[in-house]
Symmetry: C2
Subunit: 426 residues, 2 copies
């Protein structure tokens, strides 16, 4: 892991927009499913997943869901259920009420906050299927009050038929209402436009391969989509009160995700930097996903030496990391100075996996510097707001002339007259 | 205005993505400004706006701002200032606090809510420059606590030099901190990447022509952008308790915006429908923007006859209109049934222009059916959230094994070990 003195370190990586061929293929799939519905959905499922289904078999049955519980260890059920409880408790704190502001002139202004009606969650197949991601996408929607939460996932991955029972158990624990065995761009198109077997949704979320990502981008506007996540990142700001064994393990837990994952340590201590560097090497040698982590550390890892914790905080604010661990003496003294970070982990026991799996906050967090202006997934992502205006006759008569003035100034005489007819009305 | 019985009326219109040539031109402008900064900004300003500036003259001075007040009527200042106060009061109700949840095991979980640091507002030139839009874009950012709000607007429009004084007064009343005389795709690029004269922002909002819209789309990800608005819409659900003169005026106030604007009346009364139809014809004949309104009414206007108010509400929920006026006896009885509408206007005196200019709720509202899943602009559009996790040693020891179980299940041994080293630590 390279140690750099001055830091113009940048965690930004290129966003994947797909090739022209991939985009064209996805456009064709989306257009076909929009036009032909189930027929296209089943045809593409046979073509890409090598599974021949009829429309009646698309939906996963209650019996299959029950059977999944028999295929997973009780310790897994205990853990996923405890995680679901924590995630539910944390997100429940985010709920907001509709509100009304009553004016002395009898008018009433407000905002109505409602859940979306129907949400679709994409879950990739195979080793990219993470039960924890099912919880993190589904539970905020459920807490928001979304009455219909639909999951889609491929019927087979890499030649292996069937849906991972761990995913099914996670879906049941999270509160999914309907599950369909369909994946790829065709699943996204079915969620957006609906087919005879699948009613259309209002929003699609969840990770997927490049075809899924491109399909989501193409249907955006017809439905809402979540933001498309970049490779994962961690930045750790630690002083020599931290344990290099802990910090190295945390850096590697990020690096093992992906060769493009980024792990950065910022520290004012050259000694601590050297100790972490050695510890990363030592732990890396024993890591099952060593090949991935090694490339990630080489390409996107760094140790940045700074003159002070405050200079370190400034570096963090420039990076705007997805995950940020602050492991210094008196971390609370610095919390107010952190401007840009998706999730902030304080102190020696708040290892990133605590948040990835269990504590309650969402693990879907802005990447690639976008924590400067965006936020972890939460209940707000599954609600919509309507403004409400009830204007009294008294209010209109008191303010009508000012409204007319502003409308005429903008050359919109029709707007002015809509007020005027009411002023002269009686 | 055509009366239709069954309603498969659809307010949706095509979204404008620009031609390949327009996209290529914008890509070039954005790339040049990113690379060359002010030099490219000034070159494109000369090319497109026919105004030769040096970098020192880009920023509008305090003296110019003061002079603008001398060029506008006192009645305008009174009206825009009253509107600004109302908009500020309404948006102030939306502010939220950071929160912390203290756990019995000593852990602490929470969300930190902060304003974005710097926001750019685009204001088009010429007749497309609306003082009210300046308020509606700037004030929510200001209420959110954004410390730096920057406005950009072309230095000349249609050969006419200078910035409209009404826009400058609106900017001052709204609380803009910096104004630059620069427009088009070059202004968007400067906001996104910064130049020597203009520091980069975190988010760009505000309407513009197709080049501005394409530039915003291209820089999205580098900065946040607002959603790109479609043509404006109104749907009115009225029974025969309503006054056809009022309703016709409201439909026309929408239709005069744009030939693609949409105005729809839904009513259970054939008599009322006929009266509104006649009244629209009568008022249309006298409207200054008659040509625009006439085409809008012909192409995107309709009167939809329904069997009951409830059937009308169902039609509204399908349309998901930007603006919705509910002018029936006892409108409160139906408020709970409205699922999809950006802004809801209740009763005879809540004419849409009341909301467009004055009452306080934002007039930037989802169009084209997207009220199904999105919301009017508000303070939430100018904040970002960070999750905070402080996990105690006690909490990690109580839950560590479950976290390890979930990490191993996902094949992420590095994640498991980051917990394990802490459990065995002491």
């Amino acid at each position: 892991m390279k140690i750099v003195k001055a830091q113009d370190m940048d965690m930004k990586r290129e966003v994947e927009y797909g090739s022209e061929e991939q985009n064209a293929a996805v456009r064709q799939i989306v257009a076909d499913v929009k036009l032909e519905g189930d027929a296209a959905l089943l045809r593409y499922t046979e073509e890409f997943d090598h599974v021949k289904l009829d429309a009646g078999a698309l939906r996963v049955t209650e019996a299959e869901l029950k059977a999944a519980y028999d295929h997973v260890e009780p310790s897994f059920i205990t853990a996923i259920s405890a995680a679901a409880d924590n995630i539910r408790a944390f997100h429940s704190r985010q709920k907001r009420n509709s509100w009304m502001d009553l004016q002395p002139d009898g008018s009433l202004l407000g905002q109505i906050i409602r859940p979306l009606k129907r949400v679709g969650v994409y879950v990739p197949g195979g080793t990219a299927a993470y039960p924890s991601s099912v919880l993190m996408n589904v539970i905020p929607a459920q807490v928001a009050g979304v009455p219909e939460i639909v999951m889609v996932t491929p019927p087979a991955t890499a030649g292996k038929q069937g849906i991972d029972p761990y995913i099914l158990v996670a879906a049941a624990e999270a509160g999914v209402n309907e599950i369909y065995r369909v994946g790829g761009a065709q699943a996204i198109a079915a969620l957006a436009y609906g087919t005879a077997s699948m009613a259309p949704v209002d929003k699609i979320c969840g990770p997927g391969n490049i075809y899924v990502a491109l399909a989501k981008r193409q249907v955006y506007g017809v439905v809402d989509i979540d933001s498309i996540a970049g490779p994962s990142e961690i930045a750790v700001l630690a002083d020599d009160s931290a344990d290099p064994v802990y910090i190295a393990a945390d850096l590697l837990s990020q690096a093992e995700h992906d060769v493009m994952a980024s792990a950065v340590l910022v520290t004012p201590s050259a000694e601590f930097a050297a100790a972490c560097q050695a510890e990363v090497e030592r732990q890396l040698a024993e890591l099952p996903r060593r090949d991935i982590a090694e490339r990630s550390i080489a390409d996107y890892g760094a140790i940045i030496l700074v003159d002070s914790i405050d200079e370190g905080i400034a570096a963090i604010n420039r990076l705007a990391p997805e995950h940020f661990e602050l492991v210094v003496q008196d971390p609370l003294a610095y919390l107010g100075k952190i401007e840009n970070a998706g999730a902030i982990f304080l102190g020696p026991y708040s290892s990133e996996p605590v948040g990835d799996y269990f504590a309650g906050p969402n693990h879907i967090i802005p990447t690639n510097g976008t924590a400067r202006f965006s936020s972890p997934v939460d209940v707000d992502d599954f609600i919509k707001k309507s403004s409400v205006i009830y204007y009294s006759k008294e209010a209109l008569q008191a303010n009508g002339e000012m409204i007319i003035e502003l409308a005429r100034r903008e050359g919109l005489e029709g707007h002015a007259r809509a007020i005027e007819v009411r002023l002269s009305g009686d």
